[in-house]
Symmetry: C2
Subunit: 202 residues, 2 copies
Amino acid sequence: MEYPSKLIEDAVNEVAKLPGIGKKTALRLVLHLIKENENRTITLTDSLNTLRSNIKFCKTCHNISDDEECIICKSHRRDRTILCVVEDTQDVMAIENTAQFKGVYHVLGGVISPMNGIGPSDLKIDSLVNRISDLNTEVKEIILALSPTMEGDTTSFYINRKLNTYGIKITSIARGVPMGGDLEYADEITLGRSITARTLFS
Amino acid sequence: MEYPSKLIEDAVNEVAKLPGIGKKTALRLVLHLIKENENRTITLTDSLNTLRSNIKFCKTCHNISDDEECIICKSHRRDRTILCVVEDTQDVMAIENTAQFKGVYHVLGGVISPMNGIGPSDLKIDSLVNRISDLNTEVKEIILALSPTMEGDTTSFYINRKLNTYGIKITSIARGVPMGGDLEYADEITLGRSITARTLFS
């Protein structure tokens, strides 16, 4: 594509580096900013710069936070005996939205993925072990809430092997047919697992 | 949605104001920037700020430009006897991509649209009339290349009425482009044909 201006070209190339944004979408966004008032662009870029330079990670659970410690770890209403291990911030938000969990979290920052060159040392697994091995730990149960993929399973197995010597209950979120789904459209592995891992009806 | 941080919330709200970007996509983009190096965010915001504060509009054709006059108006290879009237920059880029047009442009900056409160005075129509009524004008033909929509047609009729007293040939791009379509999304062959097969307007 030929751009009428070098400035446009530079901006489009930068915006198109964002995930899921192609050149055509980037051009549309950039031309939108040109049409809008200049203050609009300043507000947008300021909010991104402020975010990027001031964002912190909770020293306890490694979730994204405005302060040294995140609002969940700081809260007195959370149950510190249950710890939920997740991949990233989006997963914390998704679980918080269910309003079914009142414990605390541990954010790994990813899953073990040799294909992408991510090993256990790139994740917050040592920090998780430290939290559990701490003599003053209140944790009585660890819920592994990782994605039901090859990488997620590998990571769950690895964490389980690291932690099962501490005599703490380790659970994993239920795998089965999703609510509202149609049985005949469920894939064979999911349906198979949902039968072998059936639960008591009550 | 509850965000783990006020900074995230502010950034997401700003990004989600862009056209076609919802809160969920905005969150994904913002979290991507947090994962990446801080320089990445700085480069992105710098390119947008530089663009927004330095971008100019060509004094002749009103296309987006790095200078007072755009590269097309400056070029000695362009045929100044044919003037193509388009809605916006994306249309200029689309027509340039067909390589079927060697004349110059006039960018209106929109089309007449009473529904959106856009009247003739909000567009560069007076400036077009000045270009044509200029005694030194070289223009021998005006091609109306507006979107084949109600608004585009209305604008074409309006411009034709304003210009048909100057004894200049006024043509319109051939209706090879499907009705209700948007110029920037037409494929190059259709768009190219529509220029070579232009018909007399009226």
